[in-house]
């Protein structure tokens, strides 16, 4: 017999929480989407006061399971037990009232509302007349931020925040529910090391209060640092659960992908050619200024920095998304004016943006349409007609090369898992055979196997003489892949490091200078 969510919520509110071995467990869950069996007879158990990591390749079904727990999807089969009692969660409200809060993989904020309004939506404090008490709400937010050591203005509008700061708002919001179970679906994919460390402080303190935390990540080091236990999923199936102290990194990878991956960052040393892209004194008013650097053929220039240091803005400006207010760009020695992405593409550039939902995916269109859209600018088109056969074949090859997990090329991209969406975008730009490739957080949300594959591809392109700019907040990635690292801080370049001299400490020094 399943307990109704309202009954459970009432029990929870009364404080009479039933004792049970597991805070939360699910048994035999099955969830099918049209064409995809996302979860097949999956079980999962979460103990009180632990951090339980969920691991698995892109599309393994992690987010789907968590969305079931958050009341967004209803499973086709199987049961959810909350504190030992079987329960049917029919809406997000059911989950929240029963003490399950979730930080979603994709940001879910209201851009035109303030930080405080976003956090307390539906739970706004009221004054004696029944009106929303904004003063109290800002106070509550300030308190919450104090407690979590987050420095954000509660009255700021969310649309003015960087992606990282938005992520921090999401985290604060989830914590504010004071739930028993806190699900975090790749919370660190948009964060740099400093915020990650900060987040871990928060997690530890929550854990010590007896809260159970489900933590999804593709970053191996995070697993060892924060998780007590971990479970591995593969292709919608449950593989196993272990204590994180028991295993090595390679063991986990083997469990995840069903094979061994030996080298994580296969950067090959290749001969470096002439300067391809030269940026001089580039500035964008009020955002960054005086940015100068060269990138050579075959070179990978990493750009490191803290969140909000202006790395993404530099990339957007070079690509013509937000044209520079001053400074110059030269390609192969010739000065060029780039006022739009269209022109940038004509100069052989490609740009994989950091926010795949906002500026990347055509969510409601299919994989094929997403992949082909950039290359149609100059290839695969005759007399205005698209060469369907050729382009499909090219996209098919590319998607196989990138191991995109999709039933077919006609699948809508919004139905793909986050990591697979990222792969589709990478495919979109690789098809254009760029001379200059700009990557902004290219492996965000990508699983280890695919990450290695993308790194191999980038390295391969460099070998063919492509000039690569790679912005990354993942220190091992920058250090492992770059020939040279440019470090930025608050809109200025604070220094360059060669591959040999670069270490984490040196980068961090420059990044906070």
């Amino acid at each position: 017999m399943a307990v109704s969510p309202t009954t459970m919520a009432a029990v929870r509110a009364s404080g009479a929480v039933p004792k049970a071995e597991y805070l939360l467990n699910v048994e035999g869950i099955r969830k099918e989407f049209p064409g995809v069996l996302a979860l097949d007879d999956v079980s999962f158990r979460l103990k009180r006061g632990t951090v339980h990591a969920l691991m698995g390749e892109n599309g393994a079904g992690k987010s789907t399971l968590m969305k079931i727990l958050a009341g967004i999807y209803v499973p086709d089969q199987g049961e959810v037990f909350l504190k030992g009692l079987s329960i049917r969660l029919k809406s997000p409200l059911d989950a929240l009232e029963n003490g399950i809060a979730m930080i979603h993989q994709e940001l879910n904020l209201m851009p035109f509302m303030t930080v405080a309004e976003n956090i307390w939506i539906r739970r706004e404090p009221k004054n004696m007349f029944g009106f929303v008490d904004h003063g109290k709400m800002f106070e509550m937010t300030a308190d919450l931020f104090n407690r979590l050591n987050i420095a954000l203005d509660p009255e700021a509008q969310v649309r003015d925040l960087s992606v990282a700061n938005r992520q921090m708002v999401e985290i604060a919001k989830a914590v504010s529910y004071e739930s028993d179970v806190l699900i975090m679906d790749e919370p660190t994919s948009a964060l740099t090391e400093r915020e990650v460390a900060h987040l871990f402080e928060i997690i530890r303190s929550l854990r010590s209060q007896g809260i159970g935390i489900v933590y999804i990540t593709h970053k191996m080091n995070e697993l060892f640092e924060i998780a007590d236990e971990f479970s591995v999923f593969r292709d919608g199936r449950y593989i196993g659960t272990h204590a994180s102290t028991d295993v090595t990194r390679d063991d986990i990878i083997k469990m995840m992908v069903g094979r061994e991956i030996t080298q994580m960052f296969p950067k090959e040393t290749v001969p470096i050619g002439d300067v391809v892209l030269s940026v001089k004194d580039l500035s964008l008013k009020n955002v960054f200024s005086g940015v100068s650097f060269d990138v050579r053929a075959g070179e990978i220039l990493g750009i490191a920095g803290l969140v909000g240091s202006g790395r993404s803005n530099v990339a957007e400006t070079i690509f013509g998304v937000t044209p520079a207010t001053s400074g110059s760009i030269a390609i192969n020695g010739k000065p060029v004016a780039i006022a739009s992405p269209n022109q940038a593409i004509q100069h052989g550039m490609a740009f994989i943006t950091e926010d795949r939902k906002e500026t990347g995916c055509l969510l409601i269109l299919d994989v094929l349409e997403n992949m082909q859209i950039a290359v149609l600018q100059d290839r695969f088109v005759k007399f205005g007609f698209v060469a369907e056969k050729e382009i499909s074949a090219a996209c098919k090859v590319m998607s196989e090369k990138l191991r995109v997990k999709t039933p077919n090329l006609q699948e809508r991209v919004e139905n793909l898992s986050g990591g697979n969406q990222q792969k589709v975008l990478i495919g979109r730009w690789l098809l254009t055979n760029p001379k200059i490739l700009i990557l902004d957080e290219p492996t965000r949300g990508i699983d280890v196997g695919a990450k290695a594959e993308i790194h191999r591809l980038v390295s391969e392109l460099a070998k063919q003489g492509v000039a690569v700019i790679m912005i990354s907040s993942e220190m091992p990635e920058v250090l492992g892949m770059s020939d040279r690292i440019m470090v930025m801080h608050e809109g200025r370049v604070t220094g360059f490091l060669d591959r040999e001299e670069a270490t984490q400490v040196k980068v961090m020094e420059l990044a906070s200078k």
């Binding site: 958050a70 967004i72 809406s91 997000p92 409200l93 929240l96 009232e97 979730m102 979603h104 879910n108 904020l109 209201m110 851009p111 035109f112 509302m113 309004e117 976003n118 939506i121 539906r122 706004e124 009221k126 029944g130 009106f131 929303v132 904004h134 050591n149 987050i150 420095a151 954000l152 203005d153 009255e155 700021a156 509008q157 003015d160 925040l161 700061n165 090391e193 400093r194 990650v196 460390a197 900060h198 871990f200 402080e201 080091n221 640092e225 008013k285 009020n286 909000g308 220190m475 961090m508 906070s512």
Partner: protein, 341 residues
């Protein structure tokens, strides 16, 4: 690993340096003042009269858009949720007809319900608001439950409600209304009703949960849903309110004309939407304020009065009206953009 960095003091909030934004109405208020001043100057040049220093004109400016304004208050809320309401003009016609049929005086030769004449004002009022509510709930329920686009649901209602208005008396007007009923349409009462309605919903949008939910749904319906908001129920509420306000507008229209006609309110929905959008409400949802809508409605009123004042040829009035609607929004968009960068 990296946790030793966690002690690094949190960076100062980056936003403060930008300061608070000016409320967006300021920009549109400037547009209004600009238009009024242009008329004032042209008035002295071409007509030798003041446009603004004329009590009668200031009244009629608002009076003639008060019905549009009442609707626009509801439509603004619908648009903030990311929806649209095309039915309001027709609902005005439908409620005007039905409400008026319960407001006929016994002195009138052909009452619709001969047995029901000289009823107190409360009867047609309740009937009118009820009819509006019904239309709004149907709109909202269709949109929330069947997930059809608001454009279609309210387009259907637009067509059907107009049909009901014509069918109700087979097209005949409903006249001979009681003085009690007509009272609400006399003098500046329509203006009072408009401003009271605007004030109530200004407060509701800014200071109540109802308002927060409305903005949240429009800004990001997915986020609203995962935050536990019952989106369906809330949408029904918002459309119901828009319906009730359209019903109220119908009553005021009939009272003003002292008759109800099945063609009443045709294309009012477009004027109401224009008022909202000129006032800064975004058709993509999540953004908008009642104060802006009130100013938007007044801009429309100033425009109409100004045409007559300057004796603009009627043939040119429409052409210019279209240009002004576009120009007002262009100026507003441009000003907002400039302030942002």
């Amino acid at each position: 690993m990296t946790s030793e960095q966690a002690t690094a003091k949190a960076p100062a909030p980056t936003t403060s340096k930008r300061g608070r934004r000016l409320p967006p109405e300021v920009s549109i208020l400037l547009v209004l003042i600009g238009i009024a001043l242009i008329y004032e100057i042209l008035g002295w040049i071409f007509v030798g009269q003041s446009f603004l220093m004329n009590q009668q004109r200031l009244t009629i400016i608002i009076l003639q858009v008060s019905v549009i304004g009442i609707i626009a208050v509801g439509v603004t809320q619908v648009i903030i949720t990311g929806g649209i309401d095309l039915s309001s003009g027709s609902v005005v016609g439908m409620t005007a007809m039905i409400a008026a049929s319960f407001a006929q005086a016994s002195t009138w030769a052909r009452p619709v319900y001969p047995g029901l004449t000289d009823l107190p004002f409360i009867v047609p009022l309740i009937v009118g608001l009820g009819i509006g509510l019904l239309a709004g709930v149907v709109n909202g329920a269709l949109i929330a439950q069947t997930k059809i686009p608001p454009f279609i649901a309210t387009l259907g209602m637009m067509v059907s409600a107009r049909g009901v208005a014509k069918w109700y008396t087979k097209g005949s007007p409903v006249s001979g209304l009681t003085d009690q009923f007509n009272f609400i349409g006399t003098g500046i009462w329509p203006v009072v009703v408009f401003l009271v309605v605007a004030f109530i919903f200004h407060i509701a949008l800014r200071y109540t949960r109802y308002g927060k939910f409305t903005y949240a749904i429009g800004a990001n319906v997915q986020a609203a849903r995962v935050s536990g908001i019952n989106v369906e129920r809330h949408l029904i509420k918002v459309y119901a309110i828009a319906g009730v306000l359209a019903g109220l507008a119908g009553i005021v229209t009939a009272a003003r004309a002292q008759t109800a006609q099945s063609g009443m309110g045709v294309t009012y929905e477009l004027d109401a939407i224009a008022a909202a959008v000129i006032g800064g409400t975004s058709l993509t949802g999540g953004v908008g304020r009642i104060t802006g809508t009130v100013i938007g409605a007044i801009i429309l009123g100033v425009m109409i009065s100004g045409f007559t004042f300057l004796r603009v040829d009627a043939y040119y009035q429409e052409i210019i009206k279209g240009v002004i609607i576009v120009a007002a929004v262009v100026v507003d968009v441009y000003r907002q953009k400039k302030r942002k960068v």
